[in-house]
């Protein structure tokens, strides 16, 4: 039985969770990203983390509005969300989306929203380091090649390169890097609100370019930490009809399989 407390219910009972899980639009509505949300919740429940979600009171952080230039809409979203978060006296937020992470962490403080914001890869690494999350030996990934795709908003934007890799090192698999990685990691093509429009004219789509690196890495699994990277790379791999050989999985999904 999985428990997913809603913030409003806890608050009514006078309870305060240790951490708020910010699910994000993709994690809430996108079928593929929902799988990551569910996997992460299963980990939280297994470890016994005291958490809650906002549920219907959560709203888009405004990231795609801001990146595309619509500052007005961004500020509206930010003001609404900050009002809700402050009302519930939220101190600590964990999120599975690097875009929500970046906005909540870096852009809300100036507007009156001050929280400790953690991306789920860092959160999972901490759970493992503290011995709270124990992984089974072997499993699906034993001896397989795994390559981690850096999300721009985790990597360059927030300089989180190591936490996801540290988690993957525990999988008893062979970690390989794509030719463009870490600070030189190539974008999946979704950022800056590109996810929500056709790309401008060019010779290739950005995810097709990145898929070349994916195939070249000869990895069995591409580990991702962002729902949009997951969609973009999944699409690129499908287009090359490699979806049977190369699986795209979020780091939370990988860990959940080994619990």
């Amino acid at each position: 039985m999985q428990v997913v407390p809603i913030m409003a219910d806890l608050f009514a009972e006078g309870k305060q969770p240790e951490v708020l899980f910010w699910v994000g639009c993709a994690g809430s509505f996108d079928q593929r990203a929902q799988m990551v949300t569910k996997a992460f919740v299963k980990i939280l429940n297994k470890v016994g983390v005291s958490f809650a979600i906002l549920g219907p009171e959560e709203s888009c952080t405004g990231d795609p509005a801001r990146r595309s230039g619509n500052e007005f809409l961004f500020q509206m979203q930010a003001a609404m969300n900050i009002e809700v978060l402050n009302m519930y006296e939220v101190k600590r937020i964990v999120t599975t989306c690097p875009h929500c992470f970046n906005t909540l962490k870096n852009e809300y403080p100036e507007l009156g929203g001050n929280y400790e914001v953690i991306h789920h890869t860092t959160f999972l690494q901490e759970l493992i380091n503290d011995g709270k999350l124990k992984l089974k030996e072997g499993g699906d990934f034993k001896g397989k090649r795994i390559s981690y795709h850096d999300s721009c908003y985790l990597g360059r934007a927030n300089e989180i390169y190591e936490a996801p890799r540290k988690v993957l090192e525990l999988l008893d698999a062979e970690l390989v890097e794509m030719k463009r990685c870490r600070t030189k990691g190539l974008c999946c093509g979704a950022g800056g609100a590109q996810m929500f429009k056709e790309e401008e004219d060019g010779t290739l789509r950005v995810n097709q370019e990145r898929t070349k690196d994916v195939i070249e890495s000869k990895a069995d699994y591409i580990a991702v930490a962002c729902p949009f990277c997951s969609t973009m790379l999944g699409d690129g791999i499908k287009e090359k009809e490699k979806q049977e050989e190369i699986k795209v999985l979020d780091i939370a999904e990988m860990l959940e399989k080994l619990m």
């Binding site: 509505f29 219907p56 230039g69 500052e71 509206m76 962490k105 507007l111 934007a157 929500f196 004219d201």
Partner: protein, 443 residues
């Protein structure tokens, strides 16, 4: 005596010319909006020392970095020798410091000679990279014409300067033996000590004296020419890299500049009782974001002048690599071109208030370019001197949407979803936690 007068005249001419041009650039940068510089100045100083002085980011790419370092080191250290050239030129003396400094003088000049030789090697390597190997980022279409010529001219200039240094020192070495009263001993110089006699050994005294003067004048005129040329060229980076690294943002690259003017409006909408901010009666029409250089910050404009068109940003841009129109380097070059054109227009008597009827957005940078950006920060990460092309792109996007209401149709749909449904897609906000039911059903 004639040489002294000539030297002082050339120096004064250069000073006047350089003053005009450098103030023009200063005025151009001041077209930008104010930008508060926040954060620890110690950290800023450290950034400047590591990035500009220490060239930290250059060394991510070792081969060009090491050759670039040779030229850079030779340039920095040669400045010491210029002190003597100035003293000699103004007072009509010859190698003024040689007798006083003795062995130390030999060491300094030898050090300069070795660095000059390394710089010479580097110059040939760079000419080859630009013209024979045709390194892609140095030979893309946007580099055609003046940018390409500019890149090569400076390398030819370096060849000229090094040739003059060795002619000057080489002939001097030989003359010291013939006429020690007028040519004080420099000691055995690391390169001219043997190169001088080898090249100029058999020549007559008169020829040697003329060649020595050609070397000396060639060198100093080359340096003066360089100072005068610099502010018309991408090579201005040798000066502006320093302030640029110092003033670059200390915040996460993911954070976009806040627009407090909009935050205030939103506050008013959400809380009708909030105090209405006092309006400045002198303020002009309100414009959001930027469609021209005066809407950008002065740091954006300093960035444009600090850019040396190396193209590391563009080579790593996902949009550019997949054939889109966007090139972060071109964004910087066009921003600089816009300032230069405005400045030319005003100098020619154009009305500053009315402007020339053109704008950065539309006439220089197209919507297609800015709409291709994924805000991935690869360009910002790559720039060795902390230029931020992304900041210009997002300010132009802000204008396109907030002021011109001219956004791609699909973005308008997304805006509508966020506004009405609180999500980027059209789902019922009440269903935001619907996945929980599926989770409990065990899927």
């Amino acid at each position: 005596m004639i040489q002294q007068i000539l030297f002082i005249l050339v120096l004064a001419g250069l000073g006047w010319f350089a003053y005009q041009r450098y103030s023009e650039i200063w005025q151009n940068i001041k077209r930008g909006k104010d930008l508060a510089i926040e954060g620890d100045s110690g950290v800023r100083m450290k950034n400047m020392i590591l990035l500009a002085f220490g060239q930290k980011k250059m060394f991510k790419n070792f081969i060009p970095a090491i050759f670039h370092f040779f030229i850079y080191a030779a340039f920095m250290v040669t400045q010491i020798e210029l002190i003597e050239i100035f003293v000699d030129g103004i007072f009509g003396v010859h190698r003024f410091f040689a007798p006083y400094l003795g062995a130390f003088y030999t060491f300094i000049i030898s050090f300069i000679e070795i660095l000059s030789l390394l710089a010479l090697v580097a110059t040939f390597v760079f000419l080859a990279r630009r013209n024979l190997l045709k390194v892609p980022r140095l030979t893309m279409n946007e580099m055609n014409g003046w940018p390409k010529l500019d890149g090569n001219l400076i390398l030819y200039g370096e060849l000229f300067l090094v040739a003059c240094i060795f002619t000057m020192n080489g002939t001097d070495t030989v003359l010291q033996k013939i006429d020690p009263a007028h040519y004080p001993s420099t000691g055995f110089l690391a390169i001219s000590g043997w190169l001088g006699p080898a090249l100029f050994g058999g020549l007559g005294e008169g020829t040697l004296k003329i060649l020595e003067r050609i070397g000396w004048w060639g060198h100093i005129l080359g340096v003066f020419g360089f100072i005068a040329y610099l502010p018309f060229s991408k090579h201005l980076h040798i000066l502006l890299a320093f302030p640029n690294a110092y003033f670059s943002s200390l915040e996460s690259k993911g954070k976009m500049r806040n627009m407090p003017e909009i935050a205030a409006e939103v506050k008013l909408m959400m809380d009708p009782n909030a105090p209405i901010p006092e309006e400045d009666p002198n303020a002009g029409p309100v414009s959001f974001g930027a469609n021209d250089v005066d809407g950008l910050s002065w740091k954006n404009l300093l960035d444009a002048y600090a850019c040396t068109e190396c193209g590391r940003c563009t080579a790593n841009c996902p949009a550019n690599q997949t054939g889109k129109e966007l090139s972060p380097r071109a964004i910087m070059m066009k921003t600089r071109d816009r300032m230069e054109d405005l400045s030319k227009f005003e100098k020619a008597g154009g009305n500053k208030e009315e402007g020339d009827g053109k704008a950065l957005l539309g006439d220089y940078i197209t919507k297609e370019e800015i709409n291709a950006c994924t805000t991935c920060n690869a360009c910002v990460e790559e720039c060795p001197v902390s230029i931020n092309p992304l900041s210009i792109i997002t300010e132009l996007r802000r204008y396109t949407i907030l002021d011109a209401a001219d956004s791609p149709e699909e973005w308008n749909l997304m805006f509508g979803n966020v506004e009405n449904n609180g999500a980027v897609w059209q789902f019922n906000p009440q269903d935001r936690a619907k996945w929980v039911e599926e989770l409990e059903e065990g899927s």
